[in-house]
Amino acid sequence: MGELISAAPLARARRAGSGRRTRALAYAFVAPTVLLTVAFSLVPLGMLLWRSLHGGGVFDLAPRFVGLDNYTAMLAEGGGHALGVTAVYTTGFVVLTMGAGLGLALLLNSRAPGVARLRAPFVVPLVVPVVATALIWANMFAPRFGVVNRVLAALGLPQADILSAPGPALLAVLTFGAWQFFGQNVILYVAALKSVPRDVLDAAAVDGAGAWRRFRHVQWPLTRRHTLLIWVVTTLTGLQTFTQIYVLTQGGPDGATSTALYYVYDQGFVQFDTGRANAMGVALFLLSLLVTLAQLWLVGRSGRAR
């Protein structure tokens, strides 16, 4: 009996969160996040799905069910093309930024004196406003006086209006997008390589493994998990490219740089065809969901990063 009495406060303390007042506090603590998420993520998502299956624009008071009509119209009217552009852009974006990120991180990981401090410059493009840098790149790609054309002229090559030709315009937007983002992958790969134990690397070196074999058999397998996570973040970023295109090309010339998100914006806020815009919104949601689910599955499979 006496034992029970003396243990009571401890048990009460252990059972933190079981009292009524604690419960009230817990609900009060989670309420803002839960309620705001429902109001500003789930409700708009519900509206998006519902509207994508109904006809009529914003000003139509009697929407009617039209099945997949919005989707077929979207795919036929430039949406299919935009999804293709998004696939090309995202693939290029992933290859460029992850390749540059890994390559530079390996260099930053070397033991040359003073190299570690060189991480800082790669942060810069990540933090400056995209609109401001987009104006710079628009200037650099300008016909005649842009730096790209100056270089072409100096090399005796023909001048080009880069942003007005479909192929070059997409390449230009991709180059700029990769420039703005690759620093993030440099930083993440530096962190990933730091997690590889130095003594394992040193042991491999003593056994006569050169830089390539050390990378191939030690660093790459030990950072595979990070690579997967970096791929997820990079892919999601690539899929949702917008500002670069809004400023540089407005999706042109002739839809050559109209990515999925730019298409949603253009149809929804410029052409006022919300049916097509919402159908593409759903496509964008599903694509992102696939990538996010892949992430959850991968993370679930392999535990925590560090």
Binding site: A16, A26, V34, T37, L135, I136, Q240
Partner: protein
């Protein structure tokens, strides 16, 4: 130092130097162009640097557009949204990690569901929703939808799961209320995480372009990024002034980045790899 090692190091420095030059070049080009006359900018035969640096371009750009107002709007949006994201994330993360209450699982899934719904996918219904609330072109329209942060809730929960439960138990034994346990024992522990998260959330909000584009369409409510876009459409061919405007927009963030680069790197790593 053997010759082979010397050559390898030289190659490392050279490659890194080239990469840093690629990062820096557009910013250098912007600065040079911002200090030229427009005639110098559009003359392909002119040298890349101005004959006489015209610092007056910056003053001129400033006087041509309400940059002060745009900065103020961006600051209000950035500070309020970031403070909201940190506060709600801290509270929710703590409750999900260390308190037991009925429905915890379901509510946690709801809290994280926002991570599954990228804003880009819902821009059309979002503008309809905010239009219905009468929140277009208002500060609450900019701020309130951005307060909940699934990432914040998730990261704070991760953090608190790693803190010892004994701390709270000891405080409860001393008769501290639950609120006191949170405020006095656990919240102070989260300071380093909060700092790292604060910086990257603030930068994200500060540089957010798509959300304000959907919510705001008047010049006096525009944030800095939108203002720049407006400035460009008004001064299409004044390339030197456009570059001066970019310089005005970039410089403060650049200074912040230089002083807080370690925290930024920490925040980026925290957000992506944990």
């Amino acid at each position: 130092m053997p010759a082979s090692l010397f050559a390898r190091r030289a190659a490392v420095y050279l490659a890194l130097g080239l990469a840093v030059a690629i990062v820096a070049f557009p910013l250098v080009w912007m600065t040079l162009s911002a200090l030229k006359t427009n005639a110098e900018v559009i003359n392909p035969a002119a040298p890349p640097w101005p004959a006489v640096p015209r610092w007056s371009n910056i003053g001129e750009a400033l006087s041509q557009a309400p940059f002060g107002r745009w900065y103020l709007n961006t600051a209000i949006f950035g500070v309020a949204a970031t403070a909201g994201q940190l506060t709600t994330g801290l509270l929710a993360g703590y409750a999900f990690a260390l308190l037991d209450f009925p429905g915890r699982r379901v509510l946690f899934v709801l809290a994280l569901s926002g991570l599954m719904v990228p804003f880009s996918a819902i821009i059309v219904p979002m503008s309809e929703l905010l239009g219905g609330l009468g929140w277009l072109n208002t500060y609450q329209g900019l701020i309130v939808p951005n307060i909940a942060s699934g990432l914040g809730a998730f990261l704070f929960r991760q953090f608190f799961l790693g803190t010892p439960r004994e701390l709270g138990e000891a405080a409860r034994l001393d008769g501290a209320s639950e609120l006191r346990v949170f405020l006095r024992v656990y919240a102070p522990l989260a300071r380093p995480v909060t700092a790292a998260l604060a910086i990257i959330l603030f930068l994200q909000n500060w540089n957010n372009f798509l959300f304000p584009l959907i919510v705001v369409n008047t010049t006096d409510m525009a944030v800095l990024s939108q203002g720049l876009s407006v400035f460009r459409s008004q001064f299409t061919t004044d390339y030197n002034l456009i570059m001066a405007a970019s310089l005005i927009a970039i410089t403060p963030v650049l200074l912040l980045a230089v002083t807080a680069q370690r925290h930024i790197i920490e925040g980026i790593t925290l957000g992506a790899l944990d």
